[in-house]
Symmetry: C2
Subunit: 198 residues, 2 copies
């Protein structure tokens, strides 16, 4: 079953520098699941027990406010990791939902994957620290954009971060991620089109 | 000089669980500085080489946009850690500034403090992972508040997070942190006062 996992294997051996024999020792600590569009992987109030690596497809982490409006915290296309880290690490009920936006193949890393893989592979231990630091970097940049930048600057940052998502998801989801109204996003896109920016 | 460091000592031995003898082994990896109100600890474009622990006083991490407006990413009163982690970890020039809002005593943790302290003390190693996970938790909650919550909900969260800061900093700084105008903050405070909320 794991011979399908080209992306996950490449991610660990090439990006994280994990040795081939160590990769084999990781096998007991993950499994693979197929999901259909619309499947819910995590619901608010549940405990998140996994980190999800997207081998193929697209996941989304989002909250729902008291008016029933969805607010998107993160997208995870191929080669991205996604989790509700607060719930996973602190054992608290999740404030967020995770669902499936496209038919997906997801590598489910068990809760003890990180400590086990870190004890097996010093390269993985270093990479895990990189992942945490990088997550902080991205979230801090996002906070800064949300409190300081124009809707246009936020949209341009989004395109850079998720280059192929603009074609894969509806406009309202991009607006939700950016914290602006769909109407504002339309104006931004129209303005950029007039400047010959796709 | 280090006998002044009650807060830092308590933080490490009580909160992080570091053993007394291990604390002594940490001494070569930090120093202490006094700062005056208005001092600049880190400027945009510089490399951040330290993590700052606030023994006494108040620091602030902020960006300045192209119009010269300041946007506050984080406050750090007593017992908080502050750094520009992107610059510290990735070695990139900082996008942010750090300055001093009140006369402060700051413990300057050198860049190799974390790896050295982690190799000396397993308790510290665990605590450092907690710090990173907690930072992700706080930033993710902040992103969610910024894209989903009312100005009132954001202000209430701010008070909970920084209970004594409302008396120590000017209103415009709170508004800047919340990503709202000072006028909006006045309306929120007035609304809360009418509900008998201080």
């Amino acid at each position: 079953m794991n011979d399908r996992l080209d992306n996950f294997h490449k991610y660990l051996t090439q990006k994280a520098g994990v040795k081939e024999e160590d990769y084999n020792a990781f096998l007991p600590y993950f499994s693979v699941k197929n999901y259909q569009k619309g499947d819910i992987i995590l619901s608010k109030g549940s405990i998140c027990n996994h980190i999800f690596f997207v081998e193929k497809g697209l996941l989304r982490l989002f909250s729902i406010d008291q008016n029933g409006t969805e607010h998107i915290i993160q997208f995870a296309p191929e080669n991205w990791l996604l989790s509700e880290r607060e719930s996973l690490y602190f054992g608290t009920p999740s404030d967020f939902h995770i669902d499936v936006l496209e038919e997906s193949i997801v590598v489910m890393l068990m809760q003890d994957f990180i400590p086990k893989a870190s004890s097996i592979s010093p390269e993985f231990r270093n990479h895990n620290e990189f992942i945490l630091q990088n997550h902080i970097r991205q979230l801090q940049q996002r906070v800064n954009l949300l409190i300081s930048a124009s809707a246009e600057a936020r949209y341009l940052h989004f395109i850079k971060m998720y280059p192929d998502l603009t074609l894969r998801i509806p406009q309202w989801m991009i607006a939700s991620y950016l914290g602006i109204t769909p109407e504002s996003l339309s104006r931004v896109r129209k303005g950029l089109a007039e400047k010959n920016f796709k």
